[in-house]
Amino acid sequence: MNDLESRLRQSLAEIGNVGARSMPGGTQRRIRARRVGKAVAGLVSLSAFVVGVGLMVPRGTQGERPAGSDGDWPVVVVGNPDDAYVGPSTNEHVVGDKHVLLSGTVNGSEFSFVGYQSAEGAEQSPTPCLEVAGPAIPGARLESPGPYPPGIDATTGGVGGYCVPSTQIEEEIGWPPFPDGTDVFMRTGAGGGSGVCDNCAGQRSVVVTGFVTGRVARLEVRLEDGSVRDVPLATWPNDDGVGAFIFFPPTAYLVGDVLAYDGDGRLLARAPLCGPPDGGSGCDVSPTEQIVAMAETKTDAQQDFAISYPSDWSPASEILTPDLTDPREIFALATYPLRPGGSSCAHFPVNAIEDLGPTDALIWLTERQQVSGNASTSARPSAFETWNNIPGVDESAFCLAAPKNFVHHYGEFSDAGRVFGLYVAYGTSVSPKTLSELWAILDGMSFATSSGT
């Protein structure tokens, strides 16, 4: 055990040593009240499932309550979309038809969830838009004077909608235009209104809506008490690989996250639920944290390896170190375009390092051709972020024309009976997002036993 761990254990043990506690009076009463409340809520929830499909599906079989759930969620019943309310296409920018993605009732009040595309000019790509009619949209921007769905009036709801802001399109490549390359765009409310309904069948409820990219296979909401509920994804009608979602959490439980997973169960993104807008602490659009942003995969049969990386990283289109024969360069990737060559050193990608900016990152991977069974080569680390502290012979800084302030590491590791050299470099102002992507790319590399080619 190293010195830091010893100090940690000692300090934490001293500070955390608070002694036993005896149970205060009234605790049993609170526990009993909580059990009764949960039982009643369980019955209500079970009834909801009996009469229809719950929009928010607790993890597990229908009727089984997930651990930690408290049952104060509005009763949502999905109905027939054929008679759902669709606002008129009075907005001249609407492209094509509006499509009902989902409709039904929330605590008995009707709602409809509609998707369409909008473009402000002929030269602009259409952006995805959502429209919600129903409760929990009080004070929303009204797109028409009505008529509104039954049960909706000025105090209990209305019609609201929004499109992903066009400024985000310019920053992104392609469609859909999700901000900062995230997989989830989520907002509380549906545009215009607060998203909170005080008069919905005597219960405060909120509507949360959003989009996910086609990479998202499953969405779940995880609340502070550890309870988990699945959020069903509605497929976008125009086959653009985008999904939309809507759910109605109770105001009291707006502490938690919506988590997006890919088809392999890998967590892609986390979007925190916003606090209630009328509480002074809420957000409108949730600040999504992208966990893994892998979009591109390179599988090289000749080199027997596979690597995945975000779409905004650039692989080298040619060998950066053409004069290096052993080790031999097998892959290079960076957040900026890679320039091959550099005359001062043959054993480092000099021009690429010269071009590295303060917010950039570079990965350069080589493989030894003559492996002499060198026992000193470390095995592949479980996490490359920790490996970068292991000393290696890194002469790259001496190859540059002028002194440069950047972080860089070179070292060797063995995997699948092969020995690789890895050079990692990044600027001093690199963002946490880029850094986490860097380590995720390295951790995701896979190598096959050499085929001898």
């Binding site: 830091l4 761990e5 100090r7 940690l8 254990r9 000692q10 300090s11 934490l12 043990a13 001293e14 500070i15 955390g16 040593n17 608070v18 002694g19 036993a20 506690r21 005896s22 149970m23 205060p24 605790t27 049993q28 609170r30 526990i31 909580r34 059990r35 949960k38 651990a67 930690g68 995880r222 502070e224 008490d225 550890g226 502490v255 925190p272 606090g275 002074g280 602490s281 479980s382 996490a383 972020e385 920790t386 502290n389 380590w439 951790d443």
Partner: protein, 156 residues
């Protein structure tokens, strides 16, 4: 029930105190976690793991409290820009523990669960809802921050 309370809650108060740095909040959080756990005792899939369930609840409640505090401070700073609104200073004076406060929530939770609760990487992963590999990465990152913080402290 009282016996279970005495056996578990002191430890949970310690855990919450290490995660929040606030003894009063830690008492509330541990008590709430116990009520949540006790109300489910008949329905837990594995009652033997009540302590894991309580640890997870305490970690989640501490995280939620941290987010609420951050939102409150953010709102106060917007509402009263003239005032210099600062987070409440921790009451605990310990060089190592002060450094433990530096890493983000999840890293701090991983360190405290590993080195205070003495939990395995698998158990910490279950509590934090991540893989053992991710726990390792969280702990390693936190340790690096701690080393830097302690080095800075020693230089002063």
């Amino acid at each position: 029930l009282a016996e279970i309370y005495e056996r578990h809650v002191g430890r949970m108060v310690g855990l919450a105190r290490l995660l929040t740095g606030d003894s009063a909040a830690a008492e509330d959080i541990a008590h709430d976690a116990f009520i949540k756990a006790a109300s489910k005792m008949g329905t837990l899939r594995d009652p033997e793991r009540l302590d894991t369930y309580m640890q997870r609840t305490v970690v989640n409640l501490c995280h939620s409290r941290g987010r609420r505090r951050a939102l409150e401070i953010s709102w106060l700073r917007r509402a009263r820009p003239a005032d210099d609104v600062q987070p409440a200073a921790t009451e605990i004076r310990d060089e190592v523990w002060t450094a433990v406060l530096r890493p983000p929530d999840r890293q701090r939770a991983a360190v405290v669960l590993r080195f205070y609760e003495d939990q395995s990487e698998e158990r910490v992963g279950q509590i934090l809802n991540c893989s053992p590999k991710a726990v390792n990465a969280l702990v390693d990152r936190a340790k690096r921050t701690l080393r830097d913080a302690l080095a800075e402290e020693e230089e002063r």
